[in-house]
Amino acid sequence: MAGLTMRGLHKRYGETHVLKGIDLEVDNGEYLVLVGPSGCGKSTLLRCLAGLEEISEGDLLIGERRVNDVLPGKRNVAMVFQSYALYPHLTVRQNMGFALKIAKRPTAEIDAAVDKVAEQLELVPLLDRLPGQLSGGQRQRVAMGRAIVRQPDVFLFDEPLSNLDASLRSHMRVELKRLHRRLETTIVHVTHDQVEALTLATRIMVLNLGVVQQVGPPRELFNRPANTFVAQFIGSPSMNILPAQGDEKGIVVDGVDGAIEHHARGPIELGVRPTDFEVTDDGVWSANVDVIERLGAEALLHLELGPHKISVMVNEPTPIEMGQTIRLQPRVLHAFNRDTGVRIPEPAGATS
Amino acid sequence: MSRVKSLSVALGLCLAAAGAVHAQDAAPVELKLWHAYRDSEEQALLEAARVYKEQTGVQVTPIGIAFGAYSSKVETAVPRGNGPDLLIGAHDVLSKWQRLGVVEPAGEDSTAYRAGAGAALELEGKRYGYPLAFKTLVLLYNPELIQDPPTDTDALLAAAKAHTGGGSFGLAYEATAAYYFAPWMHGFGAKISGDDVHLDSPELIAALAFARRVGMDEGIVPKSPTSELMGSLFDEGKAAFVISGPWFAAGRKRAIAAIPLPTVSQTGLPALPFLGVEGVFVAGQAKHPGEAAKFAAWLAGPEGAAIRQELGGQAVAAKDAPPLPDTLETSVIRAVLAQAETAILMPTDPQLPNVWEALEDALRKVMRGAATPEEAAKGAEQYRKVLSRPPPEAANPVPYVVIMVLVGLGALVWLCLPLRDPNVRQEIKNKKVDYLWVFPAAVAMLALVVVPFVAGAAVSLFAHSQGEWTFVGFSNFLNIVLSRDWPVTSPLSFYYTLVVTILWTLTNVFLHVSIGMGLALVLREPWIRLRGVWRALLIVPWAVPNYITALIWKMMFHVQYGAINALLGFGGEPAQIDWFSSFSMAFSANLITNTWLGFPFMMVVTLGALQAIPRDLEEAAELDGAGAWFRFRHVTWPLLKPALLPALVIGSVWTFNMFNVIYLVSGGQPDSSTEILISEAYRWAFKRDLRYGYAAAYAVLIFGVLFVYGRAANKLAGKKVL
């Protein structure tokens, strides 16, 4: 078991600059989730960690060892692929024992290791089947099992849950959490699903266009997003971002009446999560209800706030009807620099 | 006198004993003998070798080589020192063999042989080889049907007519072959060798008219007679007369007799066939030339002759061969020996192959009724002149060498252009290992495919004539591309053949794809019973080697006895389609054969491609009320197309160069009109006067056409057109 160190990692394909200097220390036993939209470079970073892509510049250390030029098979990392990449011509048992067999371990040792993991993952009845005879969920577990058997220093997960249906996915999230607790091995997990990131990670790294946007525990990313990108990417439904002006009287959203007290000054982007509103007759904003999405326990209101469209989450049952005009009070405000999108820090001692 | 004789005998014995001791000391001598004999002649040769070993202890190993491959094998192997000690061949190849160094002089007097035999093997005053046997045509007949064989053609025709009918034929011979036409030609006083040859002479026209009468008009000769057909007709008692040689008599299942050919009644001249004198030669670079010469003399001498006469049925050239009793069994040999005395020695004139080609062309036209004897003779003279034109002027190789070197350097520079980019150089360095994986295949291809092709293509800059090579630059190409030798519309012009080749490729590919796809569409229906069985049976044509099936098809297309015509008679009288007498029919015969050979490949490819197409798309179209054709045209076909396209391109390249079918089925008949480029090139290289340079230029042009086609197909495929 070991941690990971990335120092100024760059990846270029000819003219295309995919990773633009990644610096990060991952402690032993951390569950790091790499998240970002497609094309942000998260998969490339993972493949660099695995050794499937060459690193153009910078250093990568696993534990204390610099592994830039170490072959993938010699890094002692295990990877679970999005497609699982099970060897179709080998049985589940052979798949799981493949790496040990390549390492020329004695057969008895391989069998013992496979049996142990198969038991943990409830794969014992499937051991003699071929991957083609398994369901999607079973294949996913076999792919996990194959990674675990190797007892690697680091697990690399490349969107391992994206091919599962919704219920199985939430079940596997719990399984993964349990697995991490039991194995206490460093895990790097790539996903585009922020729910997966929030539920699984001990730390999240948000990437966009090859640049790290923010790294931190899920709660910190949710509560104090470092910029508008992170703010909109983390949390569902997505945060409302409105152009606004701040001065001594408070913040006024462009084209909307009503000032809210805040320390930010000048032109800013104002962020409010849909869950951070209160519908109250003495609310500072007045908005027209366009559409209501009823989700069961809650309802998502799509509102017209002056020239802007915002969404607001309220508890059900609610008396609000479409076409109605309601008054709102935002409770938690996030202010960002309008030019750079960077969060305007709270004055010392203030709470969000 | 007797003492001297006995002394010399004793000396000879001593020498022989010394030789034997010596031979035991060293490795025993083994003489290799190449020949193209078959059946009884081969048996006789083996027996002779056995007897010789008993007498002298020298092992002679006769090695039979297929007749078709014999001369090319001898001419490539022997000059390079890979040949045997001894060769058997006929006198008419001697001059070529001598030039190539295939044979050694014999140096022995010719008095031991019958008249003319020794002289036939002489060249520039030296004799090469030892005469073995005469080969010539005689009039063979079935003695059960014919008691009093005719001595002139009128009587022959009358007798033949009397024995024609009810599936029987009065006379069987290969009426369209020049060799069998030669007796009529001589009987009318025409000649085809010497200084002053004219194929449009009145004598030759008369001979052509007579050949037409005998071969066609009288209705006494079976159509398209091949030697095996004549053999089975004779064996069944359905042929009264046969014009053929001693080889025909070997292995007959019925009594056979022969006399020399009759005189031509119209002229009173004898119908004289050509005479071939076969000899055994000491090969150039033989391992044991001395021993070989001894065996050759023995084989040609009385002892060998006795065996060959007795077992092999040969008309031997040795004077001292055992006399033949006047019986029915020896009748054929005696007739051949008698005929040999008057027959005309096959000329060794270097122009002969050209005359031969032109003559045969005219003969076939006349027999088919495509031309009158006058027209055919005129055409033949024209053709002969073109064929006998001297090779193009020698060119100065220097400018060509310069051009070639420049082109080669240019290509090299073009190949290396990407190397200017340092990134590319770095990448090549980084990916050295990747190249190693392609390396074995690339080297093998380079050595065994690319280099031979380039070497072969380089020959196109030379002209070959009578063993002489002249550098002629692009003359071969210019002659072909400008169609200098014949009008563009002649079957011998490059453009005519190109059009035929394209037509051939298009029709074939169309039929392969439509039949293959039709079957695949049917066979994937789930309600078809025994699907596996049909599929297995329908790929059989692909599994059987195509040279086998091509020959079987050729046989099935025979005009009188072929199964196809029987089939087309629908149970009644067989149809009378002469498949190889017109372009359209001969082309169809080729096409039918190749379609049969080619559709299984397309069927299998389509079956595979169909597996990847979800059926629900077609079902959706069906629900929308689309008919079967509409569904195919607008749903199935667009989905199949991308998968079939590569198979289509590679299939068309194969068809373009499908030599076997053309060569074996129609053989280019009639008049080379069904020849495709590749078979035309082959004919120039090996059949018409060995014009290797001309053939190589053809090959380069074929490659050029295919290359352009390949580029175009790529472009089309890229745009998903077709």
Binding site: G51, L52, P72, Y87, H89, A99, I102 | T61, I63, G64, I65, A66, G68, K73, N82, S227, E228, S232, V424, E427, I428, K431, D434, W437, V438, P440, A441, A442, A444, M445, V451, V522, R535, A536, L537, L538, V540, P541, W542, A543, V544, P545, Y547, I548, H558, A563, P574, V605, G608, A609, A612, E619, P642, L645, A647, N657, I678, A699, I702, F703
Partner: protein, 281 residues
Amino acid sequence: MRQPSQSRLILTHVGLVVFTALTLYPVLWVFRLALESDAGLGGGLLPIPRDVTLDNFRNVLGTTDSHGWLFGKQLFNSIFVSVLTALMGLVLSATAAYSLSRWDFPGRNRAIGAFLVTQMFPGVVMLIPIYILLDKVGLLDSLLGLALVYSTTSVPFSVWMLKGYFDTIPRALEEAAALDGCTRFQTFFTVILPLAKPALAVVALFSFMTAWNEFILAATLMGDARSYTLPVVLNGYVDEYGADWGAFAAGAIIVSLPVMALFFALQRYFVEGLTAGSVKG
């Protein structure tokens, strides 16, 4: 799809029977000729032998020379050359195809193009240069030399097909193997080749057939009857001097049977092996 009407069902099957009968007709003729004592032309429509004898087979199989069983030696030559051709063809084409399918190195596209271009060379002019070449390196009249020439003639098609098939194998499998500690060679042998079995089978069969059916090169390059392969022998039965159709047909059956057996055995691979590549283009 739904069941077609009764009449369409019957018509389709009748059509299939007729078409299959026509397809097999020439092949049945081969059998007739092989079984008849007096094989030749004539005898009309049906490929039913007039009499049945095994003499033709006995004659073909029983040829001997001073060294012993000649046919056996020639059969051995054919098998040896064909198996060697298939093996060498596989090694040459599989390595090249894998590299061309997987790695993007400078010159790769040109290499693919070059392999296909060699398919367009007309063989007519190559015979004598090949002879001289083999003579120079001492491989003339050797079964190894013959197999080498054959294997290169089948390489372009094999590379093309195998590359198409390799293209369909997901790269993730190789990456998984790399992470599992495989070298390139180990990946190739333990992962890729087992997965490409259908295509390898088809390619091997095609190379085998090239060698098994060829006679022009064999007749030129091989020295004597003892080193001939079966097609050369077979071709000798029907040449310009006359034809022994019975022996030819019997030989044809003997030559064709192994190929047919292989075809049927490998049939299930055919559809997959031939088209997996072309579906992807």
